[in-house]
């Protein structure tokens, strides 16, 4: 199997990005410290307001609040995506050295990251799309540290690329962010766990079968004993 494997997209339309985020939000435990990457992961924050979950932003902020509305903007208070954010009771600020001590030191319970590709072993490729043609230099940012340091890594992404290519592969073909780091993949069609036995398909969205998911996936899937419809 390779990334050029023929991919069949099911007729059932995928869920929206917000629903991927909701599925992930529902997996987060109360009392956990969570770091959300750029893209779909950011949307998770919309679903955890009022819950006892603390967001860390790698720029150096703990208990990072929601995006600031007009009037609540403080020019020196941004998240790692350069968006203005709100302060919450108990928010704290620190330098990036301390921020990555938290990240690399295993103090972040869950990191949610986007991905370009994930391999059957849980390798993650997310920082460098070779099509950009910049070789080995690119926007690493905090992704490699998060992938190496978070206690649990959840990938949030579309199941296939916009031009219909598989993103879940036997081996990644793009430059890696980290090896054997992904714990769970949540896509717009399915929820897959990375286990020592291989990729275990746990859930698919309503109207999509395990076979449908396998047909969009260029790595073998083990169907979980408790395989079920994705619920929200």
């Amino acid at each position: 199997m390779s990334s050029t494997k023929k991919i069949i997209i099911p007729e059932m339309p995928p869920i929206e990005r917000e629903m991927i985020a909701l599925r992930i939000a529902n997996m987060l435990e109360e009392g956990s410290y969570v770091n959300l990457g750029i893209g779909i992961p950011t949307l998770v924050s919309d679903w955890i307001e009022g819950r006892d979950i603390i967001l860390q932003s790698e720029i150096g902020m703990l208990k990072c609040g929601p995006l600031a509305e007009e009037g609540g903007i403080e020019q020196d208070r941004i998240n790692a995506s350069c968006e203005f954010v709100m302060e919450l009771p108990g928010s704290s600020y620190f330098d990036i050295g301390t921020s990555f001590a938290m990240i690399r030191g295993g103090h972040i319970d869950v990191a949610v990251l986007g991905a370009l590709q994930v391999s059957a072993k849980g390798d993650l490729a997310g920082w460098n799309n070779p099509s950009r043609g910049l070789g080995n230099v690119g926007n690493i940012g905090g992704s490699m540290d998060l992938a190496a340091g978070a206690k649990k890594l959840i990938v949030a992404m579309d199941h296939v690329t916009v031009d219909g290519k598989a993103k879940i592969l036997k081996e990644c073909t793009y430059p890696l962010t980290a090896k054997v780091c992904v714990d769970i993949i949540v896509t717009n069609y399915a929820l897959i766990e990375v286990t020592p036995r291989g990729l275990v398909l746990k859930e698919a969205i309503a109207g999509v079968t395990a076979e449908d998911v396998q047909n969009m996936t260029a790595a073998p899937l083990i169907i979980a004993d408790d395989f079920q419809e994705m619920e929200f």
Binding site: I73, I78, N79, I96, I140, G141, P175
Partner: protein, 233 residues
């Protein structure tokens, strides 16, 4: 001690050709824009610039690029996020043409290289980047069953930092997330120059809540509180 300078020009007078300069800031927050503008005017060649990224929210750094003063950039998020924006971006264009060399490190490694330089530690091992392009040419070693790679300290000749409050002896306080890389860079600089929004007399800042103690800072200039534009990356 009085480390206050009257002008940004005077504060950077001895920046030399080929110098390695770190610039604090993360996108728009906490960047030493006034020192950077003065440096661009001074027109010193062959600089190595050490900073998060070039030209998104810190547009003043682009003047160094377009005027051909930059030989090399050491970054962690060098290019615009969007590939299409990147194609039209003067820094990315200069890199594509081979006019500027780029070295990229993961954020946590980048900041630790600076802190280690400031802390007199020549090198450290980190698990970040193992099995990726970051490992290439570096020693990999196993500690407690887990691979880690050797990274070296990154000392800089000058560090330009931006603080919210500062006193005459160089004690600095940053504002919210404008702290970011400024702390580690202030430590790493052989000569650290701080532009501060508000200058205080020595003794007027609470010594329990200083982010950068004055020992790390050689020069201080009051540049006022800037109006930052809202930036999309």
């Amino acid at each position: 001690m009085n480390k206050v300078y009257d002008s940004v020009e005077a504060a950077i007078r001895d920046v030399f050709e080929g110098a390695v300069i770190a610039f604090g800031g993360f996108f728009s927050a906490g960047r030493p824009a006034e020192l950077t503008k003065a440096l661009a005017k001074k027109n010193v060649k062959d600089l190595t610039i050490v900073l998060q990224q070039v030209g998104t929210g810190n547009e003043e750094i682009l003047d160094l690029v377009t005027s051909g003063q930059v030989k090399k950039a050491i970054c962690n998020y060098p290019f615009p996020r969007s590939a299409s924006k990147g194609t039209n971006h003067p820094f990315e264009q200069a890199v594509r043409k081979g006019e500027i060399e780029v070295e990229v490190y993961p954020m946590g490694t980048f900041v630790e290289k600076l802190r280690c330089a400031g802390a007199g530690l020549p090198a450290f091992y980190t698990p970040t980047g193992v099995g990726t392009v970051v490992t290439e040419g570096k020693e990999v070693r196993i500690f407690n069953g887990r691979e880690a790679l050797l990274e070296k300290a990154l000392p800089v000749d000058f560090a330009f930092v931006h603080a919210w409050k500062g006193d005459r002896e160089g004690n600095l306080i940053y504002h919210d997330t404008a702290q970011n890389y400024n702390t580690a860079m202030a430590m790493a600089g052989a000569i650290t120059i701080a532009e501060v929004e508000f200058l205080f007399e020595t003794g007027d800042l609470d010594g329990s809540y200083i982010h950068t103690p004055g020992i790390f800072v050689k020069r201080v200039i009051e540049t006022g509180r800037p109006e930052r534009d809202i930036v999309a990356i």
